[in-house]
Symmetry: C2
Subunit: 399 residues, 2 copies
Amino acid sequence: MLSNYTIEPLENGLSNVKGFFCDAVNIGMRPNTDQGDVAFIRSEVLCDISAVFTSNTFQAAPIKHFQKYPKGFQTDFVLVNAKNANAMTGEKGIEDIDRIMSALESKIKVHNPVMSSTGVIGYRLPVEKITSAFHTLDFNASNSDKAARAIMTTDSFKKELAYKIELGNNESFNIAAICKGAGMINPAMATMLCFIITDAAIPKKDMDELLRISTDNSFNRISVDGDTSTNDTVLLLSNKKSANYNKAAFKEALEKIMFELAMMILKDGEGANKLVAFEVKGAKNEEEAKKASTALSNSLLVKTALFGEDPNWGRIASTIGASGIACDERTLTIHYDDLLIYSNAFRELDKEREEQAYKIMKQESFTVTCDIGLGDASYTSYGCDLSYEYVKINAEYRT
Amino acid sequence: MLSNYTIEPLENGLSNVKGFFCDAVNIGMRPNTDQGDVAFIRSEVLCDISAVFTSNTFQAAPIKHFQKYPKGFQTDFVLVNAKNANAMTGEKGIEDIDRIMSALESKIKVHNPVMSSTGVIGYRLPVEKITSAFHTLDFNASNSDKAARAIMTTDSFKKELAYKIELGNNESFNIAAICKGAGMINPAMATMLCFIITDAAIPKKDMDELLRISTDNSFNRISVDGDTSTNDTVLLLSNKKSANYNKAAFKEALEKIMFELAMMILKDGEGANKLVAFEVKGAKNEEEAKKASTALSNSLLVKTALFGEDPNWGRIASTIGASGIACDERTLTIHYDDLLIYSNAFRELDKEREEQAYKIMKQESFTVTCDIGLGDASYTSYGCDLSYEYVKINAEYRT
């Protein structure tokens, strides 16, 4: 069956979704710039909300605050700050959020407001500073660009996308998202915050189901440095304002927007220059395919070989061998894009093929395909190279 | 009971052990230098030999060649080459070793000779070049320094140690070792080769047992970059020439020599400037203590924070939280050496304490102690910082 819907990109991110507002302001947490550090997204009517949070045991205070609301709660307000993660701050960190939300409620009527934070771990939020933002923020604005830029940390560009989904018969709905993330990205979420809003009339049950699937197929497949943060959060809010919905169309649009955001994070991987897909196929089962693929996208030696544009397939093979999956050097094959670079019959790289491999590695993105040759299972994860810049950014992060 | 033995260091490494010979020569695999690339260790009488090999599924050809000998075999000859790992070379890689050993046997009588290789993966050994070495090597020399330098790859200094163990009553034995390793070091061995020789009259059973324990307490506790190579090998050879032995003394000497070599590898971690012990205590069980400790010594964010000398305990806490062990931010404490840097009651770093932390982090080595506060189990692993140099060395390794 042909799909009876279309998905078209839109400019201006969050501004496209009916009944939502957003804005950001600089309250001085990010000094000497007009780039915001506190942002909000609100809806004029109550929204269903679905969330996926970090697997880190030390979940940050905003995540704990969120989880205090009863299951299935509705909200109309998300507050976000950069520069301070409000993580490892204990009960006090949660109380700080309550104080901030009390101040908010004196400015505007909100229901079950939630918060997200990103930045340095172990410091209390500057509550007075943050509440001072409520005097300046325009609660009826649609400043998607400002919001997208306000949530950035080491990001070098804002991450903002929107799509219009036409269902035919003049029925349509929109979906939009802003997202931040650059380093500390691991296939168990990432230091990333992602806020997705839609006016589709999607049932809560579908929201939960599709957000989980899409997270597994996007943010959980990328690796910048193998670390998993205390604050990782993906929120999906729907206010049903369009009154239209189609599950297949929504699923495709959500997966598309989340996958594209994940690739933007990877391209923005701290100091990264290359985006590489690590496709492992022919594994005994999906768990093994995933294990090997994830080992590749996390390996320092693979990452530095990518940075050096060295067609050293030995590091690929060694990483697969070290991953602990069933494998055999006689059945394994390795391709860079379509170029066979290792097989049992063909082990040593001749000059000509090495030249071809160099060309492939010089591209901004390419695929490494490892066929284990022992089964039918496959998994693809996505990684980037490791450059001097990564070390510099992360050695100097707090200063 | 006081120990009734003494362990004293000796100069000149392998040369101290009765009945062993060693030498090295440059056959042009390492161009434009008089540093050797082929070395040997031989004993004038047959030795018992114990081995620990890499856990990588793709074991290199020399390891497979070793394993073709019957269990409990004895040998009198170890040949080592640098610059070529003879890994992922299939049956041909093993045949190449057989050809090399046939050529060796036409020069000198040897029994069950074994080989070790380190270097680039995926290239056949230059058999003719290597056999040409047999014309030049002095099979009756004791050139420990030459052998130690010949097995180096990205090592910046040779690793060579020897100890004399005095048992009293004019009884003594010696133990000596050479070792190589710098990058690709992971708590599942390392890209490292280690050759330990002794004239102690140690039973084969004790050799196997003590080598396994000592490996777990030395090479398996260090991490440079979390990768595990195809070639990792630790060999222990004993020719019993001294006729003396004491199990407790041998155990202590073996652990000492292997732990010191492991620390030398870590200090030589590619581009590394700092050696850090990650002590995790108060964990529910040893497996969890090990998991958290290993996560710390492998974390890119922790490693770059060490390089940046940033007392950012948030990355330590986040890594423990991400490791998946049972933990609670209310029971956790973190110390840098003796300085309390995080506890439930004491979360935010004041200026004074931050200054003290900076001082500790400026040292060449220090200890990070994380008390999980939930049990009695502990584990210590050892790591180093990640510097620009690491990226440079590994981006340019093959060229």
